[in-house]
Point group: C2
Chain length 214, copies 2
DNA sequence: CTGCTTGTTATACGGTTGTGTAATTCCGGC
DNA sequence: GCCGGAATTACACAACCGTATAACAAGCAG
């Protein structure tokens, strides 16, 4: 009776992308428990069996999705440096501010990230993805700090990078979970003044909030 | 054939406590998905049906478990203030240091907390528990900051409390997820110096690491 | 020592999960 | 144009999920 559903053949790259995005979408809106193979397939517009054709197991898809998430977040943070000014303070200020602003900070990002935390602690492959992206971000931060016009011993640089990264992480957390608890722009002001205080540099005055293109 | 399992009657308080602790234990070690009614009952040494006798639904048990977790964390942080010195700087230093040290920071705490994040964002009751405990912690921090021997406008106090809380949260995060990435005592040093820098106060010199009782 | 309350166990049920496997149909190469 | 391979669908399966309900027994009141 029932006709077999018609379909189109797609490239492997495209299908994997669709499935990963569908998985992330579901984790963001409904938690890890909502990201079942059937729900993922449904959102991606395919049937559940296809998942097993591109990912040997559901865990593989989970790993790929997490990898994609972290990659996206670091990309978003670093994107502002592409056309950033050459003044070291302004560069740092821009990078720091972007890390606590959309799209890095939004209502779903923390929930998304939190959904993977447990797997990160258990799964070796996911732990490596985490370490790589986390340290890459912190190293980028340390690099920007080292470029500041001041003298600081190397050992101090590491601790300053850890501290500044902690401020960013904490504000990212609070800003995402409790967005209505802060006034617009308040988090950016706080991150600039506190990072500036930690480093002994005035960042707020060098920061141009946004280059709102016409 | 099979004998009915023998059992002991317990008080309601005791059974609820056992079930809550079993649920937290499972979430910590295996994520939310591992905390099934059968697994919880098994760990608590009872049969699954008993859960529905003390909690109308599994969601009720989840709420109770989250409430218990947050309560425990704030209690652990505030405990160090019981016999703390009267010097405002020393009090703040002790409180801040305790917030990034065991038992608040340990390998399972973040995974445990992360497991509930999604429910917090969706469930109103859990959101209220979160806001209450989060703001209680931040207010306590602000209260300690306000007691410092210096003059600061009220509006500034709020932002300083947010910033210091962010540092603590960020270090709590990193220290729990990546414990081997930091040397012993390093996180405490960092939190004291950075919080001190944000507030313009020297905290590190007033901090007595631990009162190792004989 | 007997009876009653109720804490606790036992069992059942419909729905869902991840996975394995066979049947189809799309689509490029000839 | 059709043919073969592989992308995709369809179906089956055992295990597990949360929930509902009935049977049992533990321990206190008398």
């Amino acid at each position: 009776m029932s006709e077999r559903r018609p379909y189109r053949r797609e490239t492997e790259e495209r299908r994997r992308e669709d499935l990963i995005l569908a998985a992330l979408d579901l984790v963001a809106s409904g938690g890890v428990q909502a990201a079942t193979v059937r729900a993922i397939a449904d959102r991606a517009g395919v049937t559940p069996g296809l998942i097993r054709h591109y990912f040997q197991t559901k865990e593989d898809l989970t790993r790929a999705a997490y990898h994609r998430l972290m990659q996206q977040m670091t990309t978003d943070s670093a994107a502002v440096l592409d056309d950033a000014p050459t003044d070291p303070r302004a560069r740092l200020a821009r990078f720091v501010a972007a890390s606590v602003s959309p799209p890095v900070v939004d209502i779903t990002s923390v929930g998304l990230w939190a959904g993977f935390v447990h797997d990160v602690q258990r799964d070796v492959a996911m732990r490596e993805v985490h370490n790589a992206t986390y340290l890459a971000f912190r190293d980028k931060l340390q690099e920007l700090i080292a470029a500041l016009p001041r003298t600081a011993p190397v050992a101090q640089l590491r601790r300053e990078a850890i501290a500044c990264n902690a401020v960013i992480d904490g504000l990212w957390l609070e800003g995402s979970i409790l967005p209505e608890g802060f006034e617009p722009g308040e988090i950016v002001e706080i991150v600039l003044s506190s990072v500036g205080a930690i480093l002994g540099v005035d960042l707020a005055s060098t920061y141009t909030p946004d280059r709102t293109p016409a």
